[in-house]
Amino acid sequence: MEWILDPFALGFQQRALAGGILAGLMTAVVGTWLVLRGMSFFGDAFVHGIVPGIAAAVVFDVNPLLGAAAAALVMVLAIELVNRQTALSEDTSIGLLFVGMLALGVIIISRVDSYSGSLTTILFGDALGVTAQDLMIQAALAVVVISAATLFYRPLLALSFNADKAQLWGLNPGRAHAALLVLIAAAVIGSFQSVGTLLVFGLLVGPPATAALISRTVPRMMLTAAIISVFSVWIGLTLSYHLNTAGSATMAIVPIVLFFIVLAFTRLRTLRRERVLSHV
């Protein structure tokens, strides 16, 4: 019992848990579409692409959320620009912006005195440094992200299953895709302070990928991903307290480990079923 309760005895520890859970809920919903649409590379690039915005916000002492939002906008518009102006494939334009923005972020932050400390906080988060105000903003973003994902459920389902037909049914695939980009941005911006820009990607892809192995419908995949996310945040923080490891990284590694456990389990079950069938 103490092993379970001790890590969350203090206020800042409870805020870390609440921040992690809010991040986990948002990323589970958005990450489900990210995984189903095959946009993991975009997600990876995107979480790195907001680094210069946060770095600039640190340098000029404005709210890092605003910096992240500005960088997100630049990132998405620039990818779109490269896609439209060249015949290069989309992963090339994403890759260009990925490296460009990350390098720009490091350049900006290297001008700051406490260079390594700030960079580590941006990339890997500071779960234990989350304030009550951060939590309020995170909660508001979580409400917006989850409601918007509910409203766009049908168009996103059609877009992910077959984009060609979505248009035929009077749904607007372009608008649904744009809405998804905004949702990804909102979820990442609402989560990076707890888990860091690098590790928010773990929550964005890990729980939905694990859920995809065992879910028959998209709503169940989201629910399963949310449960895995919340579990990962809680067990990650608990382990990091007892083992004295980095909180965000410990949170981020849990869903990845879970993925391979579930994968092994489902493979074994399939093998056993095939063996039973071959005896019939």
């Binding site: 299953f161 077959n162 060609d164 419908t217």
Partner: protein
Amino acid sequence: MTGTGVGPELIRLTGVDASYDHHRVLEDVSFHVHEDQFTGIVGPSGAGKTTLLRLLLQTLAPVAGTVWRAPNLRVAYVPQLETVSWNFPITVFECVLMSRKSGRLRPWASASEKASVSAVLDRLGIGNLGERHIRELSGGQQQRMFLARALLRQPQVLLLDEPTSGVDISTRHDILHLLADLHEDGVAIVLTTHDLNGMATHLPHLVCVNHRIVGEGTPSEVMTPAVLERTFGARMEVLEHLGVRLVVDEGPTTYIPGTRI
């Protein structure tokens, strides 16, 4: 069964060219869909059959020529089974529900939507499979599911891309009968097929496509060595058996393993 199309016109393509990435796929195609039409589009792979369907669907704009459609026309489309991502987490019921009327943001189905999905699943004989994952269906059941999805919108025109590819003979018969019933109910049907003997020969009206329209008419008018050679670029022999035309490949590609011809 009529099928040559004498009723009111629903869709009209006039002198249409279509291309993907500057690669011309169709040239100077004129094609009409009438209310009582039941047409098979026949041609080799890459001849532009699916492109022609996409023009009728208006998911592809022509680079030249005009596409006219009757106002408020309801068109439904059944995709080729091979092009569907079967691992997507979706049940049969949800897949059919997907084609419901747009404009409602509510993500869940209303009672009347549930009732109409169940009714259309029942009509196609898969009413008990609604909660199955789409991967758990047989080829024939998968084809019925997409037919159900198309029928939910009560279409006036039904377009099908290779509806009998990858299904067994009895399923092919079932699908042909289902389509004939729908046609009797007043749905105009246009499908693509490269299966001359299993499918095309049983349809009332055929259009042969090889980047342009090379022949049009009833099977007995089009399934002749001359038209087929223009369509497929290979010599074929046509036999007549119990009033049905059968096409036989003629050429050095026919061989029995272990022997040389």
